[in-house]
Assembly symmetry: C2
Homo-oligomer: 461 residues x 2
């Protein structure tokens, strides 16, 4: 087939004309039909042959030369380049991996989602909209550490609400706690052994493992802090204000003992202050960082829980001992959080909306947990005991039948109800029901369905 006919046949598919000329010669060179060293037709001859303009051919040849399919020799023309390897596999699509979808749930009491009612979307939209007007700020990369005005606003907020002792220079912002742990690991010279108290935050364990820490697990009931010294733990991760799913708090005598041991052992304590703003019976417990004066405790918190899970905005407060390391190496780690969301959140905090939002959510969650507890009591009667847990975010439903926790969870799942479970010491099992993910007006129906699934009573229509 003649060059021109081949070109016409190939180039039915559209696109700029010069790219079609380029593709035509690229294929000829790749396939070896134009062997290495062969001269391409002159620009004039090619233009005549393919019935295109000379400018088109010039652009096509320039592209071939830019990518290395052809070599331009001054005063001579273009020559096919030597390609030692045949790109025969280009264009092969790998088989798509199918990801199995979970069946849809009727009631989700297991997830950590935030209640739709708790968040004022219209208000937040106004702040984002206003942040997006800061055109000039959005055109540049932000400070690796996070926007200075947001760090100042956070500093004021945590001092007031969580007794955290710090200055804005100590605050590092990031998209999620994992992003911040990556930076922390880079600041720590010694990466021997990291402890997790009460199995807190599995995703944090993954990050520390990736950075070469060996992970040790400690349990509040079984272990004493002296184990940290014995095991040479250099970093201890815990949530002293939210020790388990129920929201237990580490008492102050233990907190003080922990600080003493940590200082002696040179162990950095990472306080993940997760969900600590929510307490059912009492006021939030002040941070461990404040009790320590910010010396051996690194404070870590996230706005995903306080505002919106989809908002990836967390921060850590570095202890003064890590400030020099951060000044040296911190600039290497680009900021991960959206700058527009940082600008919006800063003004949101300044205008007092964060505190107001937390008060509102707290009230809503406590009310919902109370209602869920009542609904469970009504549905199960004497078959189970329901109580609101200390954080107020969860209802514990303890069944007296002696059935294993996993069997209960599976029965619930078959009825389309997701729950978390817990085994008690006495052989009984408990369901842990988060009240946030289900609307309050479905509680009665959901609890009747759960009772029917677990106790085998047919569900009332």
């Amino acid at each position: 087939m003649k060059n021109k006919d081949l070109f016409r046949q190939e180039s039915g598919s559209g696109g700029p004309l010069y790219l079609r000329v380029y593709s035509h010669y690229k294929d000829l060179i790749s396939s070896g039909q134009l062997p290495a060293g062969a001269r391409l037709p002159s620009i004039r001859r090619c233009a005549q042959e393919l019935e295109v303009s000379r400018t088109t051919v010039e652009a096509a040849y320039a592209q071939l030369a830019a990518e290395g399919y052809a070599v331009a020799r001054p005063q001579s023309g273009f020559y096919a380049a030597r390609l030692d390897y045949n790109p025969e596999n280009a264009g092969l699509l790998p088989k798509p991996h199918s990801i199995p979808k979970k069946p849809p749930l009727r009631f989700d009491f297991a997830s950590a989602s935030v209640d739709a009612e708790s968040f004022d979307f219209a208000l937040w939209r106004r702040y984002i909209k206003s942040a997006l007007r800061a055109d000039q700020r959005l055109l540049s990369y932000g400070e690796p550490q996070g926007e200075p005005d947001l760090r100042a606003a956070i500093c004021g907020y945590v001092a007031q609400s969580r007794n955290v002792v710090c200055s804005p220079e100590q605050i590092v912002i990031g998209a999620g706690v994992q992003s911040l742990l990556h930076i922390l690991c880079a600041l720590l010279g010694n990466r021997s052994s990291a402890g997790f108290w009460n199995n807190s935050f599995a995703q944090g364990q993954a990050v520390l493992e990736d950075h070469g820490f060996s992970i040790r697990h400690y349990r509040q009931a079984a272990d004493d802090f002296s184990a940290l010294e014995r095991d040479g733990v250099r970093l201890l991760y815990l949530s002293p204000s939210h020790m388990d799913a129920m929201g237990s708090v580490m008492p102050v005598s233990q907190r003080l003992r922990l600080l003493e041991v940590a200082r002696r052992a040179g162990c950095l304590v990472v306080e993940d202050d997760y969900d600590s703003e929510f307490r059912y019976f009492t006021h939030p417990v002040p941070s461990l960082q404040g009790l320590d004066g910010g010396r051996s405790v690194l404070y870590m918190a996230t706005f995903s829980k306080l505002l919106l899970p989809s908002l990836r905005l967390s921060f850590m407060v570095l202890p003064s001992s890590l400030m020099d390391a951060y000044k040296q190496r911190g600039g290497l780690y680009n900021q991960t959080a959206s700058k527009a969301e940082q600008i919006a959140l800063c003004q949101f905090i300044r205008d007092g909306h964060l505190a107001a939002q937390i008060r509102k959510a707290r009230k809503l969650y406590m009310g919902k947990s109370r209602a869920l507890c009542e609904a469970a009591g009504l549905a199960f009667g004497p078959q189970a005991q329901a109580e609101v847990c200390a954080s107020g975010l969860m209802v514990r439903l303890t069944l007296s039948g002696g059935e294993p926790a996993l069997a209960l969870q599976q029965k619930a799942q078959q009825a389309g109800i997701a729950v978390r479970v817990e085994s008690a010491g006495d052989g009984n099992a408990s369901l842990l029901l988060a009240s946030t993910g289900v609307p309050a007006d479905s509680f009665r129906e959901a609890m009747r369905a759960l009772q029917a699934a677990i106790c085998g009573t047919p569900e009332a229509p």
Copy 2:
């Protein structure tokens, strides 16, 4: 001083009354004035003494007990807890570390910012606003891998614009390339040796070092790919379509040779497709990943450069060889990118705005670089030679005076002009001027000032 008077004196500062009662007793217990085991006054007596309601005292005692300052004994009352350690240091503010500020610049030709004119903020605001109406989607955490609809949109876009061969299952979204490299490191078993070709992306080197890779540097001019086999490099990081500041492209013969060596050596090639959509003279060069058929190349790209630097949205296309590892471990790594921005970007791509935005930016940048080149030619005359580089984002100004590159950079800096520099082999030095960070109507003034600073001619008024 009597209990009541002390309380009155302390509690001038406001806050809920029960918290003032709580603080009062907390201080008494912490300081040892109420020693361990001492009984707190009964609720009735305390209420009388401090002239507050019994409910207030109950709340205060409950808070003390929750935090462990007091212990409740049924039918008996509240007792001060044993605190072995005196929290004397609480409240000490560490000295703020002052971060030196850089002097303000007159003209910034060094930064990688995006041109204000290039981006349609009003349009982007509309997409964000619409994304923020997806209330239900924003109330839950997103998929760790990134929103499925955005992954599908990206898949279509890169197939069309960059010849990338993939399915949405292979795409992982994250807030910046560093976030994605953390995940990649977690998927790689063997973390021996990583190579950076032409010193690409220092921030990537930091992440790989943190994960235990030893870093090796290779230079296009000096090294051959066989060095990868010799050195046992398991991961090679490079930007084949943007090999240096000027935007040089790796020719296809080398690309094919690299793929051959990488497959034989079991080396994963990470293609950072940074700025590759911008070419001054030619069409963008198709991706290495496509040439490879997606087998041993991991494709990596970011929207920070294409849209807004403040938008933290990047993605990688996993090669099929890493899909099993990702399915096993990927779920441990929470998504770092903002969900609202993911939703907005998805619709933005679907509506064709990404492609349009790139066309617009390309045209603008190429025009600005041309104008900057002309302005430099006018100001320097025969003292320097100006040319637009291959990517079209930068102008290279080569001075013939034989002055060292760093001296030139310092002279420019003293005149308030930031530039990047490069030493040529012949002893002459070049300034690299990015045209994006300075408005076009300042080019003449800026080039006159630069000429005066470097060649010592007084700047014309």
